[in-house]
């Protein structure tokens, strides 16, 4: 399976993606990129509307390429880290619930789910932990809206990664399996045995996606603050990573 990021949906030709995936014998999963102009919890209703439109486009593409979910930190603009009063925060939360409820309904009609991703403190101020994300899902209250959990972010924010995965439980729809430095899974200090045990406890049977980045693609490298190569090459990271994860999760 290949996860593709819909940074600019206009560049994605659904038929070409589907044909290439069929030829390669792989499936496709899609995730969104949520910049400042696609912010579902923004004060400005026009920005919220643009976020809703973008989410519907992502859902359409997901349905067309057979992706089970649209994944990503869709509750806010990535990189938005502000200090808010409780009232302001509650209002932002309300907009997120409202926008993602509507997107969830649109997705449900097309047989697609939403997988909401908590990010660490440096990338968002709204949803940093699985507990917060579960609360968001409960407020949204749609069966097809759940979580994407990412071990890189959990390593920074969660007290206990295994417990956090169990807490997310049946809400988990997608998993990013990343090393603590976003290098090859297995090369750092994430406690993978605890991750595997927790996934087994919650009977997780969804995707396991390796997400990393390369400093060679400047725009994304800046957004995720990746300044040095964390693996010899993207191929090495993908190859060594899947060998490690298969051993871990199939044993």
């Amino acid at each position: 399976m290949l996860e593709i990021c819909l940074e600019d949906p206009a560049l994605v030709t659904v038929d070409a993606v589907r044909a290439a995936a069929t030829e390669a014998g792989t499936e496709i999963s899609v995730c969104g990129a949520f910049g400042p102009d696609r912010d579902v919890s923004h004060e400005d209703p026009d920005v919220r509307r643009a976020a809703g439109e973008y989410l519907r486009t992502c859902v359409d593409i997901a349905a067309a390429v057979g992706s089970e979910n649209v994944s990503g930190p869709m509750y806010s603009a990535t990189g938005k880290t502000r200090l808010l009063s409780d009232d302001e925060r509650a209002r932002q939360w309300g907009w997120a619930v409202e926008g993602l409820s509507a997107a969830g309904d649109y997705a449900a009609e097309r047989g697609v789910g939403l997988a909401i991703e908590p990010l660490n403190r440096y990338e968002t101020d709204l949803v940093n932990t699985n507990e917060q994300a579960v609360r968001l899902c409960r407020d949204i209250g749609r069966d097809n809206v759940g979580l994407l959990i990412d071990t890189f972010h959990m390593n920074i924010e969660e007290k206990d990664i295994g417990a956090a995965i169990r807490e997310a439980g049946g809400f988990v729809r997608n998993l990013h399996a990343c090393e603590n430095d976003r290098g090859t899974p297995g090369s750092g200090h994430v406690e993978w045995d605890a991750v595997a045990a927790a996934l087994s406890d919650i009977d997780y049977d969804g995707l396991v996606v390796i997400e990393s980045f390369t400093p060679e693609i400047k725009e994304i490298a800046r957004a995720v603050s990746l300044w040095r190569p964390v693996a010899p090459s993207s191929d090495a990271l993908a190859g060594d990573g899947i060998r490690f994860l298969e051993r871990l999760l199939r044993s």
Partner: protein, 283 residues
């Protein structure tokens, strides 16, 4: 007796009168306090008297490298201001009897170079060398700090710190690690400490979530073992901060109550237990 000497960084006591901070740290059993480096606003003589009276030392100075204090800035004025700042911190350290000041080649939260990388490196090396020589004359050492990827594009790992430090080529001083940053950047915190070896002259301890040890998932036993293995003789200093991209904003709004008595107490008691477990009780 403890194997290590313990210190707590007053950075998170933001907004508090320094004498109250000194009293708290002494009362909770610390050997020393780490002070924030804002020498223009600090009364060194009074602080010296207060730490002496409290029976503790000043372990280190936590310098504050803002965009205006950037040793690698293309503007020569900014570079000079940065150097003047490090010198003022060194003077302040000498006055309060503190052996170590934290140094960085560039500003914290600067996420892209403003000039050619090689040129920035040269400026930083020159600035750090001049600052280090000035500090050495006052019996004060620099320690070069590495921060995680969200706080700098430059020194993220201890190996990178060691490489830059060797280029600076000072006779005294070294490199420091912070376990919060290392949890994000290093393959193994303990191995990074061992590789740095005798060049490690300061350390910041915080759990994976930057709160007191015991509140996150970092396993401190291998960290303590690694420090013992390299015969680490510096202070074990806790630098704890609230969970935000802007911890200072959180503190200004008063959202850091737990970091006063509660985490100050929890940090040292947790690490003393780890120390006793790993290294055994010492007479």
């Amino acid at each position: 007796m403890d194997r290590f000497r313990y210190s707590y960084d007053a950075l998170v006591y933001y907004g508090e009168d320094i004498s109250a901070s000194i009293d708290r740290v002494a009362r909770l059993g610390y050997d020393a306090i780490e002070l924030v480096g804002e020498p223009a606003e600090q009364d060194a003589k009074a602080i010296r008297r207060q730490v002496d009276d409290a029976g503790i030392a000043v372990s280190s100075i936590c310098s504050v490298y803002t965009a205006e204090r950037d040793l690698a800035h293309p503007d020569e004025q900014v570079r000079r201001r940065a150097l003047d700042y490090v010198k003022a911190v060194a003077d302040f350290a000498a006055e309060v009897g503190c052996p170590t000041i934290i140094a960085a080649p560039t500003a914290c939260m600067k996420l892209k170079p403003l000039a050619d990388r090689e040129q920035e490196r040269q400026w930083a090396v020159e600035g750090l060398r001049a600052a280090g020589e000035y500090a050495a004359e006052r019996d004060v050492n620099l320690t070069l700090e590495c921060w995680n990827r969200y706080e700098t594009y430059w020194l993220n790992r201890l190996d990178q710190g060691v490489e830059l430090w060797n280029e600076v080529g000072l006779e005294r001083g070294g490199v420091m690690g912070d376990t919060f940053h290392m949890n994000i950047e290093e393959d193994s915190i303990a191995e990074a400490i061992r590789r740095t070896g005798p060049l490690l002259n300061h350390v910041h301890i915080a759990d994976s979530n930057r709160a007191a040890p015991g509140t996150g998932h970092t396993d401190f036993a291998p960290v303590v073992q690694a420090l013992a293995d390299i015969d680490y003789a510096g202070y074990v200093t806790f630098e704890l901060l609230p969970p935000s991209a802007d911890p200072f904003g959180v503190m200004a709004a008063g959202g850091h109550e737990a970091f006063f008595d509660r985490y100050t107490e929890q940090a040292i008691s947790t690490m003393r237990h780890v120390e006793a477990d790993v290294l055994g009780a010492r007479a």
